[in-house]
């Protein structure tokens, strides 16, 4: 037992005891305690095991820079959070916390064997050791490393919590509510500015919380700010990232500090746009680097002061200070005043301010100048330290149960660096401080290098007479990087700190090197014999501290992850047992299984119904664009491959759209309603892309054309009625349109009414059968659908889904852009040269069709494939080879793009892109599949009704 609760002092509420558990053992603390302070008060010094060596570790810090004391919190099923810093976890009744990276227990850890094998774990260990043989990485090394090294366990259950998010705008955003931040807020409070003040802790005050002399000021200030109507105070809120144009991301923790709250949002993501940002994030004390500096009980002197003054906890009964900076002296004086026993002050400097010496003398504290700690005794807690007199190199022992480190200060420039503000090196501080801003932001107080607790010496590693190869002086506690590792990296030729960082992993842990970066830089600087600014500085990147995925995702999960678009007929499909698929955010009925049917049986039935009688299909998701204006025909003529100017009103045309590079990007049937009005259709997934492309040409290449483009996709419900009986079903319901074959031929459009509702009625077919597509205002979609179902009952009208639609179109060789094409397919490759206007001087993509690569032989071309065994349905995506007996890897000449069982034909059909395929008709190709190589004959892509007789009835 080492730490204990002081009789008095601190900001905890001693009238409110709190019971919590750590590793299953119950402890008591007080309201206002963190897990760290409460456990310390109970004498717990061992908080975790280190990442690589599994060395016992205790607290180093009292704030969010804590590298060692990472713990997990369980809040019930699915509510498990790993890698929380014990210094930031507020205790509440029932809190269940657990240590990490230990087995079977924290005190007796099997992995600690790594520590004894330390000689095998040098810098670059992973790179050097696990490179060969390759197969060992997946099966042996990685699982073993994951088990042995690593932080907390990743949660396995879905997170049941709810997370909120919001946007905020303000004139002044102050990040950090220590004395500097509070002063800034008070100074701006009387303006009309909208001010937001953010602090990551549970109460405002920052460093002032550990300085009782400032508490009256703090209380007055917080009261004034709380009462000010133009100041928004966000506590328990971490500004984790500074993005462009003063855009700050922050996460507010709403319920983790409360017992059993699960019905309100757990955290809230704030996205704040600020006119001006003031960073008042303070500074982080720097550890000193010496042998054994990771023993539990060795911690920052400022942390010991925070534990005593803020939480009323002494970290030990006899504390020794190892200092290179005046601030540590002030800390121990404050600790002595709070009633904590101080055994000695050791300072690496030969002389210090005489006022410090006098103060120490008054308090009866023994002082050792020009001394340094060269060893720490005790495994689970400090029992004594060995100090060396640098004047004669003699070593002697001092008994103590805690060793405080005061190595100077590192300004917290993390968010400043996110904002791309530049830094300048200050030799006197041994630290980088903010220089030139890149946004409307300024740093004040500690993060600007502005502090009032004296000066110090900047050193890399405490000198020691010991054998350098036998000491473990840690720089990065969280990633177990020692001074020796950094020196080794330099010896092996690494020069840039960015490379040294990655090779040693210094500063690459979850704390991003908050306590280790500057010490690492100093050590590299000495080893390279170059000043620090010459070897650079690694970049800070968001987040400042780790944040939950839940907070970042907010509401955007599950059904709210992205919108699901549904048609007006979707509810009918749902009620009739449709199996759905998502297509470009649309929920589409894939097939309508009857009792006992699998997909195969349902699709076969649906296909046969269309070919033999009549089928009905919800085509509402088709992209639709209304093209209007005197130059509408000229515009379409320039956009599409085929001629549009001669198209008569009332007629339709298949439009093929290329990109300027000559490759197919979309297709669809479009109709001319009037000389200046077209109803375009696009593929379901291509609607937005096509409209964007058309707007681009219209706005930027041909702004002289008088044309307006309007997306009408969601204005119309579209019902495809397909099959030999389609006209018979439709005829009794339609008024004002002569449906006869003569009056209303294939590829025509008529306007009239259906069941009293205005309709644009297309006579078109994506199935090869007599077909109509009925466009009605969206709200009438299901109404018309149900009337058609009733009217078609006598013909056994059958609803079919996208799967049957795919089979039916494949039987007719109609391509699906994006399935049978892949962005490298020209009209000629796809066998669609008939859709290209040969006489047109220009259209988008025309010039590219004459590019050398496009006219070269051997391009992949779309062909049909008929397997020799008609029962074999090839896998879509399967590769095709010309000869089956070549050595592996074989030369692949193409792949299967579409493949189905055709119940109508009683055999399988497929389409494929094959190099030079148009010249291979009748040839046998080979499709190697797991278990068997299949053979297939190349054919045309139309498998059914080659002459198209069924369309024109």
């Amino acid at each position: 037992m080492s730490g204990f609760r002081l009789e008095t002092g601190g900001r905890i509420d001693r009238s409110q005891p709190v019971t919590f558990s750590f590793d299953g053992k119950a402890y008591q603390g007080f309201a206002g305690d963190t897990l760290a302070s409460a456990l310390l008060a109970n004498g717990v010094m061992l908080f975790g095991r280190s990442f690589k060596y599994h060395r016992p570790r205790g607290l180093v810090a009292a704030g969010s820079e804590e590298p060692n004391a990472l713990i997990s919190v369980h809040r019930g099923p699915g509510r498990f959070t790993p890698n929380l810093r014990a210094t930031g976890v507020e205790i509440h009744n029932g809190l269940k916390a657990f240590s990490q990276n230990r087995w079977p227990s924290l005190a007796m850890d099997f992995g600690a064997i790594n520590d004894r094998l330390g000689m095998f774990f040098p810098a670059g260990f992973y790179n050097k050791t696990f490179m060969w043989p390759r197969s060992f990485w997946d099966r042996v090394y990685e699982p073993a490393i994951r088990k042995m090294a690593g932080l907390g366990d990743a949660p396995t259950a879905e997170d049941p919590d709810v997370y909120a998010s919001t946007y905020a705008h303000c004139d002044l955003l102050i990040i950090g509510a220590g004395p500097a931040g509070i002063d800034a807020a008070l100074g701006a409070m009387d303006s009309n500015k909208r001010i937001v003040l953010i602090d990551e802790q549970d109460e405002l005050g920052g460093g002032a919380l550990a300085d009782p002399a400032l508490w009256p000021w703090l209380e007055r200030s917080v009261k004034a700010l709380t009462e000010a109507t133009n100041v928004t105070i966000l506590t328990r809120t971490t500004a984790f990232g500074f993005y462009h144009d003063n855009f700050i991301g922050a996460v507010q923790r709403l319920t983790d500090h409360l017992p059993n709250v699960t019905d309100t949002p757990r955290e809230k993501l704030w996205r704040i746009r600020a006119g001006e940002v003031v960073l008042a994030q303070g500074a982080i004390e720097r550890p000193l680097v010496f042998d054994g500096n990771d023993t539990p009980g060795v911690m920052l002197s400022s942390a010991a002061r925070v534990f005593a003054n803020r939480y009323g906890v002494a970290v030990g009964k006899a504390l020794t200070l190892m200092a290179s900076h005046d601030s540590g002296w002030h800390d121990v004086f404050a600790l002595a005043k709070a009633g904590v026993g101080i055994s000695a002050i050791i300072d690496v400097r030969k002389s210090v301010d005489s006022a410090l010496l006098h103060a120490a003398e008054r308090l009866g504290i023994k002082v050792y100048l020009n001394h340094g700690v060269v060893g720490v005794n005790g495994r689970h807690n400090v029992s004594s330290v060995e100090i060396c007199d640098y004047s004669d190199q003699r070593v002697h022992r001092i008994n103590c149960d805690a060793l405080l480190m005061a190595g100077g200060w590192t300004p917290s420039v993390h968010l400043w660096s996110h904002s791309k503000g530049s830094l300048k090196w200050r030799d006197d501080l041994g630290a980088y401080v903010p220089d030139v801003p890149n946004e409307n932001v300024r740093c004040i107080g500690g993060c600007f290098g502005d502090w009032d607790f004296g000066t110090g010496a900047v050193i890399d590693v405490l000198p020691t007479p010991k054998d350098q190869s036998r000491i473990k002086a840690f720089v990065d506690y969280q990633n177990d990087v020692t001074a020796k590792d950094i020196k080794l990296a330099v010896r092996e030729g690494f020069r840039s700190i960015e490379h040294i960082k990655r090779y040693t992993t210094n500063g690459m842990a979850t704390d991003q090197g908050k306590t280790s970066n500057l010490n690492g830089l100093q050590i590299a600087s000495s080893a390279l014999n170059k000043p620090v600014p010459d070897i650079g500085l690694t970049s800070f990147r968001p987040p400042y501290t780790p944040q939950t995925f839940g907070a970042l995702a907010g509401h955007a999960k599950g059904a709210l992850f992205q919108p699901t678009r549904t048609t007006n007929i979707d509810s009918w499909a749902q009620a009739h047992g449709a199996v759905f698929e998502l297509v470009a955010q649309w929920r589409r009925a894939r097939y309508f299984p009857k009792a006992g049917e699998d997909m195969h049986a349902a699709v076969n039935r649906e296909c046969v119904a269309v070919r033999s009688s009549v089928g009905i299909f919800d085509a509402s998701t088709l992209g639709k664009i209304e093209v209007v204006g005197p130059d509408a025909a000229e515009f379409l003529n320039r956009m599409y491959t085929n001629p549009w100017k001669a198209l008569e009103p009332g007629r339709c045309r298949y439009g093929l759209l290329l990109k300027e590079d000559g490759f197919i990007t979309d297709d669809g049937v479009s109709a001319r309603l009037a000389p200046d009005r077209f109803h375009l259709t696009t593929t379901t997934g291509g609607a937005a892309r096509v409209l964007n492309m058309m707007e681009d040409y219209l706005q930027t290449e041909w702004p002289d054309l008088d044309v307006w483009l309007t997306s009408t996709t969601e204005q119309y419900a579209v019902i495809a009625l397909q099959g030999p009986n389609a006209r018979k079903v439709l005829e009794p319901l339609v008024e004002g349109i002569d449906l006869s074959a003569e009056a209303f031929p294939h590829m025509a459009i008529r306007e009239g009414t259906i069941c009293g509702i205005e309709t644009r009625l297309f006579r078109v077919s994506f199935t090869g059968e007599l077909g109509f597509e009925i466009n009605v205002p969206t709200a009438y979609g299901r109404f018309i659908w149900e009337r058609l179902m009733a009217q078609g009952a006598q013909y056994d009208i059958t609803a079919y889904g996208t799967e049957a639609m795919h089979v039916l179109r494949a039987e007719k060789g109609f391509i699906i852009v994006g399935q049978d094409t892949d962005g490298t397919v020209t009209p000629f490759d796809a066998g669609l040269d008939w859709a290209v206007g040969k006489k047109k001087p220009d259209f988008v993509g025309k010039r590219s069709m004459a590019r050398p690569d496009i006219v070269a032989p051997g391009r992949k071309q779309l062909v049909g494939l008929l397997t020799d065994d008609p029962n074999v349905v090839l896998e879509e995506g399967a590769q095709i080879v010309a000869y089956p007996n070549q050595p592996i890897p074989m030369t692949m000449i193409g792949h299967v793009t579409s493949s189905y069982w055709s119940e109508t034909l009683g055999r399988s059909i497929a389409m494929a892109l094959v190099a030079g395929g148009h010249d291979m008709m009748g040839d046998t190709l080979y499709i190697p599949m797991p278990g068997k190589t299949h053979t297939a004959k190349v054919s045309g892509t139309v498998f059914y009704d080659l002459e198209g007789a069924r369309l024109h009835v």
Partner: protein, 90 residues
Amino acid sequence: MILIHCPYCDEKRPEIEFANAGQAHIARPLDPAGQSDADWEAYLFIRANPRGRHHERWRHVHGCGRFFNAVRDTVTDKFETTYKAGEPRR
């Protein structure tokens, strides 16, 4: 998140309202058929990749829908200026 000034709306709006549309001031040749293969290749595929000032097109796709031109510094990601389509290069 960057703020981008739309020259048509004359407002600074968050970048999520906009979509990048590639390098600016690449006009489609008036006579594509008369272009040599090399010229056509250059028009189609060859783009600048400057370190620093870059002229590029943006579309206020979730706003007014207009395409416009911008000068953005590719190092700092800062927009120097934005201007309407058809206006001379800045």
